[in-house]
Amino acid sequence: MRRVAAILVVAALALVAVIVATAQAGTKTTTVTLAGWSAGADEDQLLQSIVNTFEKTHPGIKVDYSVINGDYTTAMTARFAAHNPPDVFYVDSSLASTWASQGVLQPLNSYIKSSKFDTSKFYPSLLGAFTVGKSIYGFPKDWSPLAMEINKGMLGAAHATVPKNWAQLRAAAQKIQAAGVLPSGAKPICLSADWARMLPFVFQNGGSLANITSPAAVAAVNFYVGLIKSGLANTPDKLGSGWCGEALGKQKAAIIFEGNWLLPFMASTYPGIQYGVFPMVSQKTGGNLAFTVSYSLAKDSKNKQAAWTLLSWLTGQKGQTLWMSKGLALPSRTDVKAIGGRKNFLIAAKYAHGWGFPHFATAYTIMNNDLSAVITGGKTVQQMLSDAAAAMKG
């Protein structure tokens, strides 16, 4: 009896094995590798669940999603050099043109054409960050501009109003400082020695990267650095913080200019701080930066068609709607809604400039080192701007 049972079990197992093998041979699945950096466990889990949804609706494609920890750029450089990159991966807008010129990114134009992918739904400034000439090298998965975040208690106690332009910003800062609502060592405003924070002020004054030595740019830098020199603002390191978001959380600053990434950070690290998100200040015009990341396809990918199917689904209306469901990011498509409370970020979509410029890594280093020198008085504004112009020319 026992022997019969054993034979039956073996036979059943063999039958299952044959069925599974036949089924696999029949559908012929393709595996697509997907990689990005981690912006927190919440985001990793969300992407994994979206990938699972994709696999259910696309039975022929299996997605192998992995998070690259540590130095993403260096890790990807090694993968590119070994001709073994992931098929689909994140590309920061600041790196897009460099990687495109290095020949590691696949131009997507032919895939867009053959699959009739509608590119008109993306905000043009965001798509522009991944376009070189007429070639599109990726579609933005999400984005964020800067907004103005203010500690509500400090603003209220100082009887100051939410500033809309530079003069009002200075006035609000002066009121906050005079009211004595700041703890010791704190400043009304936190400003980083970083072009990624200062450049919006240049745009607000009508300046541009193409003509960075213009009087409008000089005036904007003078305003930005002037806030620090006059004691109304300070850099985060002088406020005992790694970045301005931390300074807001530690109540070392009342007004900061950060992006959507601040919201989950504050909720998890400083849930007790009452702050409001307001539109970025403006001056002659609205000016802001769009920090955006794309899904791009590797030139060396061996499964380009399947990879394109994944890429176009993730950045399509359905994929992006799922991606926005937790409010971790802002939609890069006009036909996808952001979850509540993001209005003051989204209004910047019209005028925000994609973050990045030619010869990015080298120029950015020179520009930020110069800016820190301007703040401490080691360089003049004019010197920094002419250095920047030269560095962007390469």
């Binding site: 130095d71 750029t73 260096t74 450089t77 590119f80 050099a81 001709h83 460099t98 990687w99 290095q102 020949g103 590691v104 060592g185 020695a193 390191d237 002088k238 406020l239 005992g240 010869h359 890594a361 080298t362 280093t365 020179i366 930020n368 080192n369 110069d370 820190s372 020198a373 401490t376 080691g378 360089k379």
Partner: protein, 304 residues
């Protein structure tokens, strides 16, 4: 079979044995030489080769051939590179005497028969064992504007992120972490000094101070030379602390931009591997020349 049975003339046998011995010698040397060749000579030659090209992530940039000394010209005329070299030399000039002095002092202390000698030896060596990244990260917290150090002294300077103090903060930090290893080398050298010279000195009633400067210090010359060369090269290659303190930017105001950080940024941020290789070669030549100079001065008569 016949050959094996034939007796071999003695002269030939000796020669054969020598040859066999030499063969074994070469066989033993071949393994480390192969590793050395594969992981040092080959990459070194390859780096030299790519320094003459526009070399990107995927190799030679399409449509470009050899560009001669263009990369070298660019590197040498780059003001960021010059600043990086200046910072590195400044750092080395600061850290080397400090770590040698601290290492020697600690070696002299633990070379005495004091209570808890083993404890002090371990305690002094301990910082050298800890990860430099962990130590630097903790130091950044301690030296932040509202960190422990500033609270104790009532100041508010973020020591690692202020242009005028960043290099010196790293000098102090690294002198502390590396002096334990310097101590080990000095300790070994101190213990190899013959005791009869000290006996002679004590017969002559020589003061401790004089004994140190006239006997111990000069007799430590092989150790001075060794430490100077090894730790000098180490200091010229400094990277981790500056990378961590500046978030990889070399700021503020280029104050933490070191030679190796320049190579790293050219390669992995700007993806210009040709420039990075050229910078690496220039730095190699610099270190090589400095080492030869050290050997001709401090290392006179030393077979190190």
């Amino acid at each position: 079979m016949a050959a094996a049975a034939t007796p071999v003339p003695p002269r030939n046998s000796l020669f054969g044995a020598r040859l066999r011995e030499a063969g074994w010698g070469y066989a033993f040397v071949a393994v480390p030489m192969a590793v050395f060749g594969l992981f040092f000579i080959y990459p070194f030659g390859y780096a030299l080769y790519i320094s003459f090209f526009h070399w990107g992530i995927l190799g030679k940039q399409p449509g470009t051939g050899s560009i001669g000394f263009h990369n070298y010209h660019q590197v040498i005329n780059d003001h960021v590179f010059r600043t990086a070299i200046k910072n590195t030399l400044e750092y080395t000039a600061g850290v080397l005497p400090l770590e040698m002095a601290m290492g020697l002092l600690m070696a002299l202390v633990v070379n005495q028969s004091i209570r808890g000698q083993k404890f002090w030896r371990a305690a002094f060596y301990f910082p050298s064992l800890a990860s430099s990244v962990a130590i630097t990260t903790i130091a950044l917290y301690l030296a932040a504007s509202d960190g422990l150090i500033n609270r104790v002294f009532g100041t508010t300077t973020p020591w690692f992120t202020t242009a005028s103090t960043a290099t010196w903060a790293i000098v102090v930090l690294n002198a502390w972490t590396t002096s334990g290893t310097v101590m080990l080398f000095y300790l070994a050298a101190l213990q190899s000094i013959p005791t009869d010279v000290y006996e002679a000195a004590s017969v002559d009633n020589t003061s401790t101070w004089r004994t140190f400067w006239r006997i111990t210090f000069p007799l430590l010359r092989p150790a001075h030379f060794f430490v100077l060369v090894v730790f000098g090269i180490g200091a010229l290659k400094v990277f981790d602390q500056q990378y961590l303190a500046s978030g990889g930017t070399g700021g503020p105001n280029y104050s933490t931009y070191t030679a190796v950080l320049y190579i790293y940024r050219e390669a992995f941020q700007a993806f210009d591997f040709g420039m990075a290789a050229a910078a690496g070669t220039v730095i190699f030549i610099g270190i090589f020349v400095l080492t030869v100079v050290q050997r001709l001065t401090v290392g006179r008569g030393e077979a190190a």
